[in-house]
Symmetry: D2
Subunit: 433 residues, 4 copies
């Protein structure tokens, strides 16, 4: 995890303190249910909760014990005994480490996803605000980096809004995938722990019961989870790439906010670089790098092996923390984005009306010319403009194959024609006004 690309809320979920606190909750809730079932003494379960619930567990001491036991959960339980007293021996009865570890991981991922949803919501709000602000700000639509036909900047942003709505939905689904609880004991048979304990702990921890755990929660769930994060990161990359393009010197239709006192380059004082969105492009690659190892983690041997663990110690915090940071950074970029409508207009005018070429062609076909001939006539005149030889409209007027009256031709060069369905799209994305 790279500190500079993290927010404290996200980091806190993965701290040793949080982890041990979740472990304690799981163990203590399990004990409470076991007491109810008569497996362990009521008083013990109550005492454990009373003495332990507010403890901040000592990670260093647990590490110290682990150096002997070489087993983290046993080290933790030993430390709980030191702190809470002898009743702690009733903890973990019939359970296995994975019951604690996997359920804790589920809680951490679920909490992280809640943060991610917050990030997406902030980003959605930012995009919506700016989209509505620029609903009718005309700009050129580009395919292949080449001017195509006019769109509006609001329309552009509406597309991103729809994409992040999907991102939100994917995160909700991903959260459901991993928010499950397993308290099923060794190899998942419930031999030494009643299924009712699992049901109880699940409810207390805000999770669903894992239908079949084989000591571990099956890792296809986590593969699906990290894959969803990878897709969301890719959407961030798309928006970041858009802004990087818009900020290019020759384009300059939008620009990341540039602070007073900021230096764009140590060598070149004139620079204002889209460094936040370039950074986001890189963060997207980082988040995505969790996907393949998460998939490789699925095929654990038999009822479980522990190869997934080292992977998840890495990708668990890294992918969630970096994506959380990226969503907020992206939201910040959009919120403060400098948008330059005049430059959009200037760029739009650059091709001298070529962006209306399709409409001219369609008008010709409607006037009875074959599609092939219309295409050829329009393309030929367009290429002259491309070569800088003059204005599109003039060439068209002079071309005898273009049988339309001059006034009709001129009427085709109309931006309103291209913006007439902006409302339709806005309604689809933001709902009817």
């Amino acid at each position: 995890m790279i500190t500079r690309y993290s927010r404290p809320e996200a980091v806190a979920i993965w701290s040793q303190e949080t982890k041990y606190s979740i472990w304690f909750e799981i163990e203590a809730h399990a004990a409470a249910k076991m007491a109810e079932l008569g497996v362990i003494p009521h008083d013990a379960a109550k005492a454990i909760w009373a003495k332990g619930k507010d403890v901040v567990w000592n990670a260093d001491r647990i590490d110290e014990i682990e150096r002997t036991t070489k087993h983290d959960v046993i080290a933790f339980l030993t430390h709980v005994s030191e702190t809470v007293g002898e009743e702690a021996r009733f903890l973990h009865q019939g359970m296995t480490s994975s019951d604690v570890l996997d359920t804790c991981f589920a809680v951490q991922l679920a909490r992280s996803t809640d943060l991610l949803l917050g990030g997406v919501d902030r980003l959605l709000a930012a995009i919506e605000t700016r989209a509505k602000e620029h609903k009718y700000t005309v700009t050129v639509g580009r395919s292949h980096g080449i001017h195509a036909e006019p769109v509006t900047f609001g329309l552009k942003l509406a597309g991103y809004h729809a994409e992040f709505q999907r991102a939100r939905k994917r995160l909700v689904t991903a959260r459901e995938e991993i928010a499950t609880c397993a308290i099923s004991g060794a190899v998942g048979t419930f031999a030494n722990v009643d299924p009712a304990v699992e049901v109880y702990v699940a409810e207390k921890m805000g999770l669903q019961v894992e239908p079949v755990s084989t000591q571990v929660i099956p890792r296809d769930r986590h593969a699906a989870y990290f894959a969803a994060l990878g897709v969301v990161a890719s959407s961030i990359e798309r928006l970041a790439t858009e802004i990087r393009h818009l900020q290019r010197t020759e384009v300059l239709e939008a620009e990341e906010f540039f602070d007073k006192g900021q230096k764009g380059s140590s060598a070149m004082p004139h620079k204002r670089n889209p460094i936040l969105t370039e950074n986001l492009t890189g963060l997207a690659r980082l988040v995505r790098s969790a996907v393949t190892p998460a998939m490789e983690n699925v095929a654990l041997w038999h009822e479980r092996d522990i190869s997934h663990s080292s992977v998840e110690r890495g990708i668990g915090p890294d992918a969630t923390i970096h994506l959380d940071f990226a969503l907020h950074r992206m939201a910040g970029v959009i919120e403060r984005l400098n948008i330059y409508p005049e430059n959009m207009q200037k760029n739009l005018d650059r091709l001298g009306g070529l962006v209306f070429s399709q409409r001219v062609m369609l008008a010709l076909t409607q006037a009875g010319i074959s599609r092939e001939d219309a295409y050829a006539a329009v393309q030929e005149n367009a290429m002259k403009v491309w070569r800088g030889e003059g204005r599109f409209i003039d060439f068209l007027k002079a071309d005898e194959r273009v049988t339309l009256p001059d006034a009709d031709l001129e009427a085709l060069f109309d931006l309103g024609y291209h913006t007439k369905h902006v409302d339709t799209v806005f309604d689809r994305v933001f709902g009817a006004a």
Copy 2:
């Protein structure tokens, strides 16, 4: 696409013939709606459909035309003109190639997913049958490849059933992700095509309307789609790995069906190898290899670039066809799997009762011994067994720290103790009987 890992139904979806037939449908439906809207003549739309609907389009001729136009959709439309006649000039009015290509890709992916769902269903049925057959066939549960505690073979399979139920759900979601239709024209503004055309074509093709297409359907959808396929492939890898383990010479608890006349090895006539599940392990890697490029495809430039296209010409057919094949191969393996309960019992007996070590330990803690002391005593005796020095029960009886009466000790070595919740799990997976 590797022919030997394909089924004809899956391959057919991606043939040139199918593609052109879908293209024609899209164009013709669009024309029908345009006629209704008064954009093109009714008669033309009708004639196009009447003359074209049963044509098998000539892929070679289209290729030939494309060598001049260097544009596949234009080549197709030219060929339609050759075949259907001059009315064809009314096709594609105000549309752009992507309207056809992306909507067609959606149809192909949706149809492929229907096949995948069929494959999952066959696999689910096979797993269920074998799980119920072996509901109480006792076998050892293994963690880290080491004997842990008894489970049943049915329980093992129930876990896979739950996993492929999730796979099914993921495929349904993935299908929804990509089953959308875009007929929005250049850069997605509907300038030259009414949104009603899109609505109409979507319905005819069994798709949803894409809320914002920017000439292309946004590729986050496809990234999510291929990621889902990668997760399903990983689940296949897990089941394949399980069977490979079970067939190992020293384990031999299950074995792929071995045909008369089959040769396991050109050199060693005695061999019976788990080649199908090894093959499935490899296929899982292949299917997963589509995930990263699909995610890299998301960040297209501005309203679109065409970098995704070459990627999708590869991964579109490859990932779906190979996963389809893998699901059916996996189903076949399970359907005909040789299962050897006697070997399971033999293996279970191998550690001389060590698999009951936890129960002994818990009994000791319930008799008042601290968890640490109970663990130490049981571990010490277990290690003697591990070193082949004698029987677990004998060592326990001889150990004075083990304060339980011999009869109570012996009662702990009971398989029924471990199978008592098989019903609970089966109810969760297959529903209450």
Copy 3:
């Protein structure tokens, strides 16, 4: 393998005919050496070679036999018997299928690499020609997509030349990695085949001897091989991305050649899109997708399992054929690239001299002003230019912190200052003239 992204030479290496022909060579050479060692009759070895060397093996018939044997090499040997006669029973003595399969794969990969080297050489030649052509064509260097300082177009290309020289070296190393021969029999012990056979076949097939094969050639070699291909593909992506940027409407400093009769867009007759380099961007993703499965193939179980095989049936031909195609397509793009020096100059002038900001700052520090103050003064004036308020030189002259005489200031705005080390770099890349 996608036919439209393939060259026949590359495809031919992976045909069934070529494969069986290589299989026959391996078997026949092995037989020749065995005869020399007295293991099989001399006459048999000679007869096999004489009768078989020019045969085009019948892939359909072999497929037919395989449907019974379910084993490809046994099917092949059976077919050789049918064709060559009973001497064929002396073939394959003490060998195992992998001896044939893995050695054949090595030959196919080595031949493919030779094609790739040819592709790189064509690309290097194209880059060199164009680099020398535009050695002193001044253009703006861009960092973060923002104008930085002047460079030359030749310098830009020189960097790519150096990169593809490295690509070449990586391919040579990659070829060495995989060009090994294993004829070591079951589990690689040479129990039934003399190591001298391996040495002989290796030499005949132009390969090195694999020091330790465990029935298979170890797959770390192939992982390294496909990783090298992935790196080369990434370099292609970088060059393709450069050209896509240069062709953007607002930049237009270079452009893919656009054929007469070509149509850029079915809808917009004015379009000229960088479709080849976009396509190359996608192909790079496809080639790279072979890297991870090749790495996942390394950890075969014990002496071998066959999970790598299905993967390699995919990535073997796909990655080599597509990379071969990509190298030639890239070379073609460079060879025919339209380069527009006037547009380069126009773009360079766009920022009104800001690209000289560093030189001004350095001159100020050399005149005794602190770096911080110099930076601040230059940045402040630059930002005014950025906002379109006037010319950089005028602001500098008017700023009293800028203590340089006007003539000295003007002398700083000199392109020659930035091109003075072009020769140094060219010498490094292309060698001293």
Copy 4:
């Protein structure tokens, strides 16, 4: 970076202190050369070195400054000024941040690679020792997890030795790929910094000169570097997987050393799990996850963008530190591996001589029977053994198709036959004695 999977030596290379110390060296060496060239005062260069060379730079203070400047190198230079005094204004003349950052990254990667080479050497030594110890310890070779033919444990290890020799070579090549120095100024033109400075700094820092840097060192180098790490990690995975297999309860031919006081499972006191090699399997996945983002980093825009930076802040330390740890952990596993020759013999005997099936078949073909008939006869008898119906040798003797005299048949069941070329392979791997 996961602390528990790190060694302090490897972590230290990536500390803030080390980074700033390398930055200072680069800047100070550059200043020394500039002084020699007369660009800056000799005394200043000397004073900078004298005052700065032993400073431990204050990372917190630099962070504080960066919060204003939003630029790390400028923040560092400001801090150097605070510490060293006003001469520091002569630092960084004509240089750009990337000159410092990229050259520093090269130094860190080179140093990390030196550690990795040390790790490989330790592993090679461990493998060699154990290989020679068990040169003739007979064990069964397994293909597809199924008993094939006898090998020796030494032979098995020799194969890994050869693989890690290749790993070593790949790391040496990878080190050469990235050990380059760029001091070429903005967009790499040397406009403001003489190429001689680069040559001088390169030599001082133990690096090669980067032939063409475009402000940054080209990232194909880093892609190749991390790919090499991924291949090495995959080799670790193969060895780890081997040991996990050997430790399986049913196999138990080797076992990770198990410490006194260690607990295998919190629930099951009898467990001894291969947790180190399972952990290594996971670490291999983690290290490999750096490969794809490193390849995605190659296609930076024009002369550079900064998207690679966030990626490298992650994968730079993570991949090198974890691989370093993994190599040492693997070496430790091999050094202390418990090896059980008696169990190997026991397993070898398990198939009742079937492992000699090939030799029987070959003897039959040499006695004049066709390969097909010999195969069929041997297979048929083998399958009876497979079904547990009796001993292989007895079935063979009783089969009239098997025309060999009993004594000849018995002579075929000879382990020495399979170990006769162990020396050949050992000579290839370890050199002739």
